[in-house]
Amino acid sequence: MRDIFVAKVKKYLTEVPNSFFLTADLGFGVFDDFPTLYPKQFFNVGVAEQLLSSISCGLSLSGDKVFTYSIGIFPTVRCLEQIRNDICYHNSNVLITTSGAGFSYGSLGISHHCTEDISMLRCIPNLTICSPASEQEAAICIDRILNINTPCYLRLDKLNAKSFISEEKSLYGPFIHKSSKENKFLLLAHGSTVQIYNETLELYPEIEEKVTIATVPFLHQNEQLHDLLSSYKNIITVEEHQLAGGFGSFINEQMNICESKAKLRRFGLNHFSDIVGSQSYLRNLYLPNPSDIFEIIKTTR
């Protein structure tokens, strides 16, 4: 997903010379040719995320688009007040990007676990949050996000989901990855955790007619999302993020707004992970695996 992001950004920087790309000293090996290609657009501001965010507000005061980049929670939680007061209150044309959502950097310890950012950022007005699930979804979402001239936050997972979008319900999602004839189970994800559902179907094809799998890459209220939430009896959300205030909470709020009568089961984290490991390892450790999802579907009437 990061490679797609870099390719899209390069195209944008070339086509829109008034734009800027700032990194807080991360992206070694990723942006190597940027200083040569974009000497008046690409800058490394140093290991200084507060500066990164405030400078992006200053650079964009006249409307120019500014990209800020780092990994994990560094470009968001470290500089939360700068995002709130500077970028979002001034409704700046800034796209904040993290490469390393969830447990992407799982082995590096909790300082690098990006598992609270959505909760902390979701309540800030003017900010659009986006977590693509796959390379295909990243390409679609980044194209859309580049056309938004207000604050956006793009979370890129290291893991890629292997499913493909079969139907786009709205510009910002939900995206249907697999639809069913029976409206019994709606399996929702925000980011690459949709892969857990994909694997469930591969292992247990007998539930195929019962489940619809969809991603909601943009935490963006819309009618199509409400229609979907209102059409199912059971909804499951899985997120590589704290349960409090995260994706499942967003869905719960949307269900409340559209008066969905579905039963919602939310899966995610409710503690720090002292244990380290790869993204796959920690995902398997803390989130339901395909047999857990199958068991819920099998035992729910």
């Binding site: 800027f20 008046k40 501001v45 140093g46 200084a48 507060q50 500066l51 405030s54 400078i55 992006s56 507000c57 200053g58 650079l59 964009s60 005061l61 006249s62 120019d64 007040e81 700068q82 007061n85 500077d86 209150y89 001034h90």
Partner: protein
Amino acid sequence: MTSNIPSIELAKLIRSSSLKMTSKGKSSHIGSILSCADILSVLYSKVINLRENEIKQEKDHFILSKGHSAAGLYACLAHLNLIDKNLLKTHYQDGSLLSGHVSHKFSEHIEVSTGALGHGFPISCGIAFRSKIRGNLSKTYCLISDGELDEGSNWEAFLFANHHKLNNLTVIVDRNNLQSITTTEKTLSLEPLKEKLLSFGLNVICCDGHDHAELLKAFELKSNSAKVIIANTIKGKGVSFMENSVLWHYRSPSSEDISKALKEIS
């Protein structure tokens, strides 16, 4: 550059209006406002170019990083007819956009809202950096408080301003030596401030922050690097019973205080 009002007169108007506003609104920070009234008046009457022209391409920028001195800036803009004077009566009142900390939501002449300290200067770096890259000649001025230098974000910005040789950026430190509870030196020592800033590669000038001729000279001094003016000031300047008193960081003047203060100002 923008006004025919002499800077001394403008400073008096800023002081008297701010006293009335903070008293009517029962708001804080009159000491901090009086401290920087002369800096604001010299900047706005003699230094800042508020209109785009063919040479500069863009107007100059002013960011009030010590956002708690908002009433002073609002008064300054009102007396230069850049905002409606009647708006001053709404400061700190229910339903007003003229918040106690500076807001950009009601006038094109205020570009940035601040209030949390340590934001305005890094934003100013972004504005100045853009001007420099674009090759336009506009200048960026940022007024910060000395207590605000406790915030680490400012020191990130000093590194940046020097690294990119932002010679179109002037930071004015309102050096009144007092912060909200006690002196800056008893709180988190800043001295030797000039030497610290010099060691960052900045062009540092010290002056009397109430002497308009000295301030103007400091502003006009050409510089190859980012400029920091340490303006030595007195918190509460102009009102004898408010001067150098930490009490007036938070206390709002009563009607009796106002009568005495306005007599001294005039």
